[in-house]
Amino acid sequence: MFLTQLVINSVVTGSIYVLIAIGLTIVYRVLKFANFSHAELITFGAYMAYIVNVSLGMDLFYGALAAFLLTGALGIATDRLVFKKLRKNGSNVISMMIASIGIGLVLRQSIQEKWGPNQVWYDIETRTFEIFGGSITEMQVYIILISIALILILHFMFTRTKLGKAMRGVSDNPQLAMASGIDTEKILLWVWFIGGGLAGIGGVFRGADTRLVPLLGWEIILSAFAVVILGGIGSFYGAIIAAYILGFAENFGVSILSDLSISTGYRPAIAFMILIIVLIVRPSGIMGKKEAA
Amino acid sequence: MILEVNDIEKSFGGIKALDGVSVSIENNTISGLIGPNGSGKTTLLNTVSGFLAPDKGTVYFGGKDITSLPPFQVSRLGMTRTFQITRLFRGMTVLESMLLASKTQDDGLFPVFFNRKKLMETERRDVQKAVEILDFLEIEHMKHEYAVALSGGQQKLLSLGMALMADPRMVLLDEPVAGVNPTLANKIFEKVMLEKEKRTFLVVEHNIDILMNFCDIIYVMNKGRIVASGTPDEVQRNETVIDVYLGG
């Protein structure tokens, strides 16, 4: 494959991962547990957009908007119905992690019940542009641009708005946030809403770039964890860099695999290998602080 | 000298928790370590017992260099510690906890299946020893209770018991009577006194009053250094000690 095409594909992959990973990392940072049900939030978002786009026949843009809002609401719902109760019971992060698996199972199979196990597609036009000898679809251009726009909006939110700063404050030091008059439970709702919403949009991107299946989220959740850990858990900017690094690693990796005549079916394994190497070599990630003993 | 700490330093993110601490402790003595919050007492204990590696300096135990050995190896050489906040095993009973602490336990996998007889024998011996210690500490009647079901004072007794169970040459006690009522606190120290002929104790404690009655030597720490040391009488008369506490 041509270099240009590889670069384009890498940027697209990175753009899909980046929002998902940011969503995952802000929940991880504040709630301190690995939320495996994030996978199904991704899938849920993709199918919500499917309703709007295919069932209602509206533009996918509105689908993405609906995905953001509804998946954000679902994130809040999982917290209210399960995680908040576990927090109140004094359950540890291990219980929360296991519970998130349970939530994931319920969501995924409910989606499969509703839309069936087979792949479906959005109703979108696929115009293709040629640049520097590579090709890129109109949809992929949107994916890249919207990701960048959302990253900028999030950056603005985290650094300029009261809410964004309060979210950082709560994740940095919840006790002190409370002592500053911040209603931390209310901030948590926002964390779930934004984390879930970003997962939803990520799901729409993935669905638009490939297809929709009930396993859509599960297929990329480990890559998302790889991004989060590579970037340093809870690091916004780390996650951004790591998402694009992983995008490049996967696409170039696949090209190397096929050069070595190894099955490209190992594509998902590239993220896993990176994940394992990072955890062993530098568990704090590229932007993370070293953990206190 | 059973323990020799030479000029150790330890910093956390630019703050010197230990700033050149040297301590020498003789066999079969009880030494006290006092000082205000944040003076570095627990850091010293952690460094000696292998839970933290010092940035500089050496620690010798029984003539052997133990600087930077991992905790389990330090423990195997005969130095056992307790923790400030009693850290008990939630899912285990008092007796089980005692057995865990024993050094003679056959805790490999091989005896589980192939040398059952010997395992049961050691187990019997260990249980007997555990019961004796629990009896000595007057909590034998609680042996089948979960360790976490004990009262605060009893938990402190249990953690002393677990330390004794390991039959160490030296015991580091981190606040053995914090939160314990005075009568029980005195009792705990009386138990320690009775063990003195068998081993050496280093006790970190806030309650200076009680140390005065039981210690041979008291070290006073402030801001990561030893600022005074001597017999309880000497320390008690030492003006700098009161100053350290009142923040001169």
């Binding site: 700063k165 940095d172 006790q175 002190l176 409370m178 002592a179 500053s180 | 506490y245």
Partner: protein, 232 residues
């Protein structure tokens, strides 16, 4: 302003604060001193709603606040500076102050920067890069953003060099001029007493002495009391 009546408090089944009553009048600096583990820190956390009292009553400005949540107390005009982890380490100095002023519309930064000029110089730096003394300043400044009527300080001198302790104590004195009451708990008794109006001594979870600061300083037994003799 603040009245604490017969408060019993602790963690789980352990009672750490045993039947303690104290009060703070408007414009007063009151200090609670006592050796490690005497329960003074738990008492402060109980007042600020971080620990639920087992029994007793806490009132602030005549209003019963027993069991109120910290963020509610902040809105009622209380400020709290914890002993450790008292700044948002990953946030900038400016953002720390904004967190402090979270509950109010237009925080008055000028006043804060007048009091703590060093914070203005370093307002863009991360709190984690500040020195120990600067952090303590920031911690106080954060709590002062809401112009609290009562400021609770948990060992403000802990871990500071003697010179820095002096500076911090000076700043606390300035607060009274701004009409705030201050309740400090301190291990560093001498320096705290030098700025306070009144003081309490706690030993083993109980209040064992109260009086004007000079009475405490002149108290013959204070040194001994402090070194662990039980009360009375």
């Amino acid at each position: 302003m603040l009245s604490v009546e017969n408060v019993v408090s602790g963690y789980g089944e352990t009672t750490v604060v045993n039947d303690v009553s104290i009060n703070v009048a408007p414009g007063e600096i009151v200090v609670i001193i006592g050796p490690n583990g005497c329960g003074k820190s738990t008492l402060l956390k109980t007042i600020f709603g971080l620990v639920r009292p087992g029994s007793g009553k806490i009132a602030f400005n005549g209003e019963d606040i027993t069991g109120a949540k910290p963020f509610e107390l902040v809105r009622k005009g209380m400020g709290f500076v914890p002993q450790t982890e008292n700044v948002f380490a990953s946030l900038s100095v400016m953002e720390n102050l904004e967190m402090g002023g979270y509950t109010i519309r237009a925080p008055d930064l000028e006043e804060i920067f007048r009091m703590f000029p060093v914070l203005e110089e370093k307002k863009k730096e991360r709190a984690s890069s500040l020195s120990g003394g600067e952090r303590q300043m920031l911690a106080m400044a954060r709590a002062l953003m809401t112009r609290p009527k009562l400021l609770l300080l948990d060992e403000p001198s802990a871990g500071l060099a003697p010179k820095m302790v002096e500076v911090v104590m000076e700043k606390i004195k300035e607060l009274r001029e701004g009409d705030s009451s201050v309740l400090i708990i301190e291990q560093n008794a001498k320096s705290a007493l030098s700025i306070a109006d009144r003081g309490y001594i706690m030993v083993m979870g109980k209040k064992v002495f109260e009086g004007k600061t000079h009475e405490i300083l002149d108290h013959k037994e204070i040194g001994r009391l402090y070194l662990g003799k039980r009360g009375g």
